[in-house]
Amino acid sequence: MINKLVVENLKHRPVRTTLSIVAISIQVTMVLTLVGLSAGMLDEQARRARGIGADIIVRPPSSSVLNFGLNMSADLIPKFINLQPHVAAATGVLVYPTGMLNYITGIDLAQFSQLNGGFRFVQGGPFQGPDDMLVDTYYADQHKYHVGDAVTELNRPWKLTGIYEPGMLARQVVPLATLQDLTGSRGKISVIYVKLDDPAKSGDVITSLGGRLKDYKIFSMQEYTDLYSVNSVPMLKTFTIVVIAIGVLVGFLMVFLSMYTAVLERTREIGVLKALGASPEYILNILLRETAFLAVAGSLLGILLSYATRFTINDVIHGSLIQSIVYKWWAIAAVIAIVGAMLGAIYPGLKAARQDAIEALAYE
């Protein structure tokens, strides 16, 4: 019976009900889009890392997931790495940030190709000179680049000589020596990728390398790609928390306002229910159920809308951002929305529950 009253009350004010659901859905979409973007970007980086064809990754002691550092000596490869048993090939790359989550990567193309057979070009081909640049099709589509175009990056022009299939290493690559000169890191690299003749030996090689390269971060590819999670990137984690807090606040305020006006509008009805013997808990129960309905409907709509933002970000805008759908966060975003909405309903709910029956019945 209460559910019938709740549904009829919500149907009675369709505009208010719709607006509340939409406001809550925006909050849910906001959280899901942010988490989807973080996951999408990190997944893409992990996919590109796997595409390199390496079994082991070596990074300098001071590095973190998105902070590569420029301070590892390239000499490590001939002096240590190549001397290890089972090492089939190794290459060092220099990663230089050009913006948030955007990097330009310097590679030794000949060495790099030994790991994976080289880039699969869809247009053009390898570097011809020191000022050449290669980009993946995604980056080329996004910037409408074609082979032969001049590309300005790091305040200088580059000549685009090749466009390759995505999913390997990076979006923009230039010759290693040129990038080392430009960034004042001659002889330095950020990451070493090692390919073994038998991937099953990764554990042994990592142990052996670890003994020689104290404090360096040495990972198997699996461990390395596992690092690409939101929790490993402090900045993203903070950002996510801030967006969630804003989401909760928006949901709270919207539901507060909506329920507050509902309580004022229904003062007389609340008086009638009280005259019929409804307890304060009964009245509160009605309003909380209405709120729960709004929050659940808003969450479902929010989940649907996150597919719309994914389509917009991935297929319409063609930006450097990638959004994925993170199913695990559906429940989390919904719980956040429901908690925010319930908090918003508490004050109006208590106001209604405590209303004096006689005054409420006299309300015009």
Binding site: N9, H12, L276, G277
Partner: protein, 224 residues
């Protein structure tokens, strides 16, 4: 049941504050209402009729005196106890019908049963009452689709669905035309005669008051 009055009021007083002024709304009311009696209370505005109605209905506590309602002493009841009393012991009919606008007539009656924790099917006798009230074909309409007279009949059905010891009616014909007023008053008298329903009715209208067995006049917070 004993032959004791269903309502027994002795030296009932109610003082409330309006701003910084004490208003003595009831100044020592004495009244007995017998089981099955239909009593009309008349009196000018400010005579204390409504306050008496609210106290008997358990909507507000008295300040002093004694009031026994179907064996319950209303003085000193907590809010929760008065809420419990309203569920089953009293039924209200208001001047402005006060139906919930979002629910159908049937659900307006049902919700009173739900609040009183009576969720099973209504007893067969109630179907007869609905027939008596002329509501059988109108139960699936919402209040806005019902005439004033029909709304008031739904409100009466709602008030008696839980078989209250006493039906309290506050100007039940105040918003109705003569024809509907006569019909509603006739129904109240029928309920009283056929079911033995005790009724306490407040009214300004002497013709309406005449439907009761007895007319009680109030003035200045006392019964004349």
């Amino acid at each position: 049941m004993s032959d004791a009055p269903i309502i027994s009021i002795r030296d009932l007083r109610k003082t409330y504050q309006a701003g910084e002024v004490d208003v003595h709304a009831l100044r020592g009311v004495n009244l007995d209402v017998e089981r099955g009696e239909f009593v009309s209370i008349v009196g000018p505005s400010g005579s204390g009729k409504s306050t008496l109605f609210h106290i008997v209905g358990g909507l507000t506590p008295p300040t002093a005196g004694s009031i026994l309602l179907d064996g319950h002493d209303l003085l000193g009841l907590t809010d929760a106890q008065r809420t419990e009393l309203r569920k089953t012991t009293v039924g209200f009919v208001f001047q402005k019908y006060n139906l919930l606008p979002t629910l159908t007539a049937r659900d307006n009656i049902e919700i009173a049963r739900h609040i009183a924790h009576k969720d099973g099917p209504p007893d067969p006798k109630f179907a007869e009452i609905l027939k008596l009230l002329g509501l059988t074909g109108r139960l699936d309409h919402k209040p806005r689709a019902l005439s004033g007279g029909e709304q008031q009949r739904v409100a009466i059905a709602r008030a008696i669905v839980n078989h209250p010891a006493i039906l309290l009616a506050d100007e039940p014909t105040g918003n109705l035309d003569t024809e509907n007023s006569t019909a509603v008053l006739g129904l109240l008298r029928d309920l009283n005669q056929r079911l033995g329903q005790t009724i306490l009715m407040i009214t300004h209208n002497p013709e309406a008051a005449a439907y009761g067995h007895r007319i009680v006049r109030m003035r200045d917070g006392r019964i004349e």
